[in-house]
Symmetry: C2
Subunit: 372 residues, 2 copies
């Protein structure tokens, strides 16, 4: 076995999920994640945790959803499983990222609604989602399998303690700040100049560990919940939304809401998202990607939005973790949470209350930071 798979498992179990003796663990194994599951089970055995393994397969889901008449009934057994679990480790690893392409969207949505209590019970555990590299994911990224594996382990096997300490500096600035301004200057493309309020919000230091209220491995971002957004923003990183490619999205905000928009590709999908509900036109998240182990876009938001030298904004639902206790009702509410990413490695700056904290992808605590 590739030694990196063992390291991945150790990082997941120790750094991310903080597994202890006697913990009751559900390991969810995707079709292509068997090898990582073997390594994870060895780590869990060594720590004296209890394990039950579930099977996650898009092909099984497709078969079930297509055959069903749509009048779904929730599984009490599944709910009970998650209610009793201390930790849920989700090992992603699809063998075909478009395996459910021919399942009607409303069928999937109806199943998701019935499934909601089990999902909430799962989110009440010390859950962590990670990804085992598969050929299907390599293909989605447009990469060879070997290069993709190198990419995944480059993103996952970080010095998380050091990254958490670095990210804490940005969290501190955002927690103390009232306003963030994002500016990019590009030739022949719409520029970005966006001002967002963040006063009273709590930034999350997403360091790929439940100890930081961070549930993805890899992670490596600091995010907060902006409001009263004004200005324009352009997203130059392509994404796949509802199975369609969406490129070069431009949004114009007034009084916190989108008042105009365009996209070079997939404008209809974008329009659909914006029309979902009232909250879909407002921002739910401002995130700053700080994982420099992620050095390219791979058409997988789990990785893309954590890439160093990027900023992402999400339309729709805000995370309650960005609000002080009692303030959660101020969180933007929506059925959607649509992440869009912009590259800030060049001719860009992030300001907090007028002070430049990042310029051209370099933070002010880095030696390469140009004071300008």
């Amino acid at each position: 076995m590739d030694e990196r798979i063992r390291e991945h498992a150790r990082t997941l179990v120790d750094w991310s999920a903080r597994v202890e003796r006697g913990d009751d663990i559900v390991v969810s194994v995707d079709e292509g994640a068997h090898d990582l599951a073997v390594a994870v089970c060895a780590e869990l055995g060594e720590r004296g945790a209890s394990v039950v393994t579930t099977y996650s397969s898009a092909e099984l889901d497709r078969a079930y959803l297509r055959a069903h008449d749509g009048d779904f009934v929730a599984s009490d057994a599944e709910l009970a499983l998650y209610e009793r679990a201390d930790v849920v480790l989700r090992l992603g690893g699809p063998r075909n990222t478009t395996a459910t392409a021919d399942v009607a969207g409303d069928r999937q949505a109806a199943y998701a609604r019935v499934h909601q209590p089990a999902r909430e019970a799962r989110l009440d555990t010390r859950w962590v989602s990670t990804v085992h590299p598969t050929r299907a994911l390599a293909q989605q990224a447009g990469m060879s399998f070997e290069a993709y594996r190198d990419f995944v382990y480059g993103a996952v096997l970080r010095d998380w303690e050091a990254l958490a300490a670095e990210m804490a500096q940005l969290k501190e600035l955002l927690d103390a700040g009232r306003e963030v301004r994002l500016v990019t200057e590009r030739d022949a493309r719409p520029d970005t100049d966006l001002i967002m309020s963040i006063e009273g919000r709590v930034a999350v230091n997403s360091a790929a560990s439940v100890a930081y209220d961070s549930h993805n491995l890899p992670s490596g971002e600091v995010f907060t919940a902006p409001f009263d957004t004004e200005g324009e923003v352009f997203f130059d990183v392509p994404m796949t939304l509802q199975g369609q490619r969406v490129r070069n999205v431009w949004l114009s905000f007034e009084e916190g809401a989108v008042v105009d928009f365009s996209a070079e590709t997939g404008e209809d999908v974008l329009a659909d998202v914006l029309d979902t509900d009232e909250g879909a036109r407002r921002l739910g998240e401002l995130g700053v990607g700080m994982n420099r182990g992620i050095d390219r876009f791979t058409d997988n938001v789990l990785f893309d939005e954590k890439m160093g030298d990027t900023v992402h904004l999400a339309l729709g639902r805000a995370y309650h973790s960005n609000f002080r206790e009692g303030d959660e009702d101020q969180a933007n509410d929506s059925a959607v949470h649509m992440d869009m990413i912009t590259d800030v490695s060049e001719r860009s700056r992030i300001e907090v209350d007028g002070d430049v904290v990042q310029r051209d992808g370099r933070f002010r605590w880095e030696p390469e930071f140009e004071a300008a």
Copy 2:
């Protein structure tokens, strides 16, 4: 997809497990059983059942068991899962039938003990175990993959209703009978002449359906719980026990217990089994294989013991289903249940209370039965 996989799934869901709308189903998917799981999920979706899928992997078990210090704690989450389930469908399909060969037996036994409550909760559901043909099982059978698949579907895709009706005739004879005599006459090998009491016992018509208290697909046997065994018996079908090949076992019984034994190969394993406990020297089961779709031995007891024209006897634990309500305490008790098979297709007879009910593999209700 091979249409036989869909037929297998339909047989499992309708004939075996009697799935109905709203049933809460756990589908346990073995490493190599994915394709059958897809077909099963389609059938379950069509019937409006709820589904949660677990992953069963000998490689995961091995990794966990070897890494653990042996002081196991049961998983409450797994127990809760099975306690809430109506049906558990176990789709076997190993990729390597010796995947746990290097896990110490006492480690496996310790885990099985801790796991016992979850196992019992599972056995309290309408559970069914079946097998998806894999290359590993073909290899264990000494067969090509294509021939093995034909073999499995020949065993599974029967006219179960007709077989159940035929087996009912043998059940009726055994339920009414007081004594079974098994005789085989072979040249140059120890002969069998064994007399067993069955008075007051209830024979099970194992027709591969929970409606018949039968939990294996394929099945096709009638079995009861014999006692007061006297005589000698020779088992000419090889078997694998604790990873070792055991051949040509001979047992001699007096007053219900083994008083002498031998085996051409694996005599030490046999001795170990007999020494397990008091009940290990007594019979727990007498079964008559009646599935003529199983036409060869494949070193897999799920199939071998149901083969037409065979009889199997098990040392050790008896099934409570063979006892009238209130009589269950008469069941032979043991930690082991070791099935051994003998070919009765030639120069053999089974008598009930002195009447020949089968001769040379033909039952008395069959036209080929020779009245002698």
